[in-house]
Amino acid sequence: MALSADTSDRRIVEMRGITISFPGVLALDSVDFFLRPGEVHSLMGENGAGKSTLIKALTGVYPIDSGTIDVSGTSRIFRSTFEAEAAGISTVYQEINLCTNLSVGENVMLGHEPHKGGRIDWKAVHRLASEHLEGLGISIDTRSMLSNHSIAIQQLVAISRAMVLDAKVLILDEPTSSLDRGEVEQLFAVIRDLRDKGAAILFVSHFLDQVYEIADRITVLRNGKLVGEYLVKDLPREDLVTKMIGRVLKEFEAIASTVAREIDRTETPVMKATDVGRRGVLEPADLDVYEGEIVGIAGLLGSGRTELVRLLYGADRADSGHIEVGGAPAKMTSPRQAIDRHIAFSSEDRRAEGIVADLTVAENILLGIQARKGFRKIRREKQESVVSEYLEALDVRPADPDMVAGNLSGGNQQKVLIARWLATAPELLILDEPTRGIDVGTKADLQRKVAELSEQGLSVIFISSELEEVLRLAQRIVVMRDRKRIGELESSTVKLDGLIDFIANEGKGSAA
C-alpha cells in the first residue's frame, strides 16, 4: 500500500463543519472531511449515513447550510458539477448519470469533445472514447446507443467519463455495485495508477472487501455525523462495522433470536410460485412461503430479486409459470389481483413507487384500504382509529396524521408505507429493500416489527442488499444471480461468508 500520503499531510480538499438539512432531516451535522493527494480514501457508513450527501455538498449539487470547503488551499463553494470539474474534481455519482439516448462514445466524451475546425471531431470522439473504455477493459461499439447496453456497461461508461477529465480529485460513489470480479480488478488497477500519479481518490462502496483492498484511509459517518478518520491498517473490520452501525448491535441480536424458530412446512404454502419468469427479465424461478415464515432473497442489484417479487405481485406480468395462493391457482396480472388475495408489496423505490408525497400521512396510510374499497369513503371514525393505531404501532415520528408525508424522514416514510400495507390485513407481505437509506435506529425498529408480525403468523418475503439483514431476519434464503434463481439456504446453517461465497460462486465451474 502506498502510504506516502502519511508523511506529508498536504490536503487537497478540506471540508469543515459541513451542515445540510432537508425538510424533516438533518442530513449532515457539522462534518469535517479531508482528502490528500496520492491516497485512496474510503467514505464509510450505512445507507443514510450521509455519504452521498457529503459528496454532493463538495461538488455543489446541494448548497450547504454552513461550513467551509477549501480546495487546493483556497476557499471554494461550487454551484454546479461543471464548476467542480473546472476545479479538477471529477465525480461518478451513485445513480448512473448518463444519457441513454446518445451513443456510448458520446456519453464518455460529452462536455469534453475534441474539436477540429470549429466543429466536434466525431472520429476523435469515438477514438478517445474507445481508448478510455479499453483502459477499463471493455471494447464495445462506441457508436451504439447507450440504451442497448447493460447496467454494468453503463456503470463502466460512467467511470470512463470521469477518467476523461485529468482530475486531481476523483470521486467514485458506489462505482462497483453492478460489476463482476474481473471488472472490479480492472477498475482497481486504474485507481492505483491514478493514485500513484498523485490524484486523490474518494471511493465509496458497501463491499468491505473492496474497501480493504484498495483504500489507504477511511472516514466513517453515522447518521449524518462524523465518527472519525482512520488509517486502514489501524482499523480492523470488526471495529469498522461497530463504528458504522453504533451501539444498536445488541438490539439486532435480539431480533435474530425472535425469528430463530422452526417453521411448519407441512401445511399448504401461503404462496407457491412455480417457474415464474419473464423473457429478458427473469429466468423461470420457484418460490414458496409458508405461514409465519420470513423468506429472504439475497443477490446483488440486478440479480433478478426485485424482478421476481414484482412478477409475484403482478406489478409486472409474468410470461411463464403459475402461482398458487393458499392452494388455489391465481393469475397475477395486476397489483389488484394480488391485493385481492391479501398480498402486499412495498417497492424498493420508496419515493417513486411508494409514498404519495403531497398527501398527508393519514391519507397515505389509508390509501391501500381506500383503493380496495373503491370510491365509497371510509367513515371518519374508522379513518381516525386506523391511522392512530398504525402511527403508534410503527412509532412514526412525528405522529402527526395531517403532516405532508413528503416531509417525513426516509425511515418514517417507510414506516408509513408498511402501515399502509398492514392496514389492509395482508397474509403475505413482500418487502423490497425496506431499510435502504434509513438510519440505524429506524432500521432496527422496522426489523423488530417484521419479526414480531411473522411471529403472529404473517408471511414475509424480505429483500435487502445488506446480507447481514437477510441472514438475521429470514429463516430461509433464496439466492439469485444473473436474473436467475441459483439456490436456497436455511439461514441457520450458513454464516455471512458462506452466503457471500454462495452468491459469488454457486453453480459456476470455478466454485470448489
Binding site: 461543471f82 448519470n97 466543429r119 454494468a152 453492478s178
Partner: protein, 339 residues
C-alpha cells in the same frame, strides 16, 4: 457484468448490418418513416392527379409557401430536444411581423428595424427561458405566458394590418432565382440557411449535443454540463426564429397583421413531431423537422388541388400526428425496456 448480459453484448457485436443499424441509429426510424410518407404522398398525388403534381413549380412553391413554418420548426426542434415546448412561436411571429411593418411605415431604416425585431423575438424567448430554468415553471405554462404577451404586443403595435412598401423587404419574396421552371426566393434561401445552421449546431457543437443530453437526462447538470445556459438559450433561439419567421411572413404577405399565426404553434409542433422528433426530448433531427414541414405542406397542397374542404387538413394532420406519436411511443418504450 453478468454472463447473461455478456452473451447479449457478444450477440450485439457479432451481428449483421441490420443489428448495427438498430443499435446505432434506431432513432432515425421515425424520420425515415416521415421521408417514406413524403414520397408516398408525392407518388399518390401524382397518380391521383394524373401527372399534374410533381412539377418544378409545385415543389418550388412548397418551400416558398412554408418558409416561415420551416424557420419556426427549426427553433422548435431545439426546444423540444431539451424536453420543452414553445407555444409562443406563432404569436412571436405575428408580433415581430407587425412591428417590423410599423417600424418601416414610420420610416425606420431596415438596418435598425430588422435587428430590433430580432431582439424583440429573442427577449420573449429569454423571458420564457428564465421562467423555465430559474423559476421551475413548466415550459408549457411559461411559453403560454410568452404567447399571451407577444399576441397582446402585436395588437399594441397595431390593431389593423399595416402594408409594407419597403422594396428591400418585398424583394425577399418577389426575387426569384430561376433555373428552368425551378425557382427559389430569398425567403426560401433564408429558411434553408436556418435549417443548415440548425443542423450544424445540433450535430457538431457542444451546445447542440447538450440539448440532446438535457432531453435524455434531466439530471444532465450532474454530468458537468452547462444545463442552465443551454436551456435558456434554446428558448432564445426559438424566439429569434420567431422573429425571422415574422420577417419572412411579412415579406410573403406584403403586410404585417396582428392576427397572423394564430394556431401556428400547433402546426409547427405537428410538423416537428411528424419529422421524427420525440416530444419528451432527446431524440430527433433538424432535418427531420424539415421533412415534417414538407409533409405538412404537401398535404396542404394536395387538399387544395383536390378542392377538398379545409377541414380535412386539420383532420389529416391530427391523424398523422397520432400515428407518429404511437410509433415514437413504441420506439421509446422499446429502448426504455432494454435499459
Amino acid at each position: 457484468m453478468t454472463t447473461v448480459e455478456k452473451a447479449a453484448e457478444v450477440r450485439g457485436q457479432a451481428s449483421g448490418p441490420y443489428r448495427v443499424f438498430m443499435s446505432r441509429r434506431a432513432s432515425l426510424l421515425p424520420t425515415l418513416t416521415a421521408v417514406a410518407i413524403l414520397i408516398l404522398l408525392f407518388i399518390g398525388a401524382e397518380i391521383f392527379l394524373r401527372g399534374d403534381f410533381i412539377t418544378p413549380r409545385n415543389i418550388s412553391a412548397l418551400l416558398l409557401d412554408n418558409a416561415y413554418l420551416l424557420i419556426l420548426a427549426v427553433g422548435m426542434t431545439f426546444v423540444i430536444m431539451t424536453g420543452g415546448i414553445d407555444l409562443s412561436v406563432g404569436s412571436v411571429m405575428a408580433f415581430t411581423g407587425i412591428w417590423l411593418a410599423s417600424l418601416l411605415e414610420a420610416g425606420t431604416s431596415l438596418a435598425i428595424a430588422i435587428p430590433a425585431v430580432m431582439v424583440g423575438g429573442a427577449l420573449v424567448g429569454l423571458l420564457i427561458g428564465i421562467l423555465v430554468q430559474f423559476f421551475d415553471v413548466q415550459p408549457f405554462i411559461a411559453s403560454l405566458a410568452g404567447l399571451f404577451l407577444a399576441r397582446g404586443l402585436a395588437y399594441v403595435v397595431s390593431l389593423n394590418s399595416i402594408l409594407v412598401e419597403n422594396d428591400a423587404v418585398l424583394s425577399l419574396q418577389s426575387t426569384r432565382f430561376q433555373i428552368g421552371d425551378w425557382y427559389i426566393t430569398p425567403t426560401g434561401i433564408l429558411a434553408l440557411v436556418v435549417t443548415l445552421i440548425g443542423t450544424y449546431v445540433m450535430q457538431y457543437t457542444r451546445f447542440g449535443r447538450t440539448t440532446y443530453a438535457i432531453g435524455g437526462n434531466p439530471q444532465a447538470s450532474l454530468m458537468g454540463l452547462k444545463v442552465a445556459r443551454t436551456t435558456v438559450s434554446v428558448y432564445v433561439i426559438s424566439g429569434v426564429c420567431g422573429g425571422l419567421a415574422g420577417l419572412v411572413l411579412t415579406a410573403y404577405s406584403g403586410a404585417g397583421y396582428p392576427r397572423n399565426g394564430i394556431g401556428t404553434e400547433l402546426d409547427v409542433i405537428a410538423a416537428v413531431v411528424i419529422g421524427g422528433t420525440v416530444l419528451t426530448g432527446g431524440r430527433g433531427y433538424v432535418l427531420g423537422s424539415m421533412v415534417g414541414v414538407f409533409v405538412y405542406g404537401t398535404i396542404k397542397t394536395i387538399i387544395s388541388f383536390m378542392g377538398a374542404e379545409q377541414s380535412w387538413m386539420q383532420i389529416i394532420i391530427g391523424a398523422l400526428l397520432l400515428l407518429f406519436i404511437v410509433v415514437q411511443r413504441a420506439i421509446v418504450a422499446r429502448s426504455v425496456r432494454r435499459t
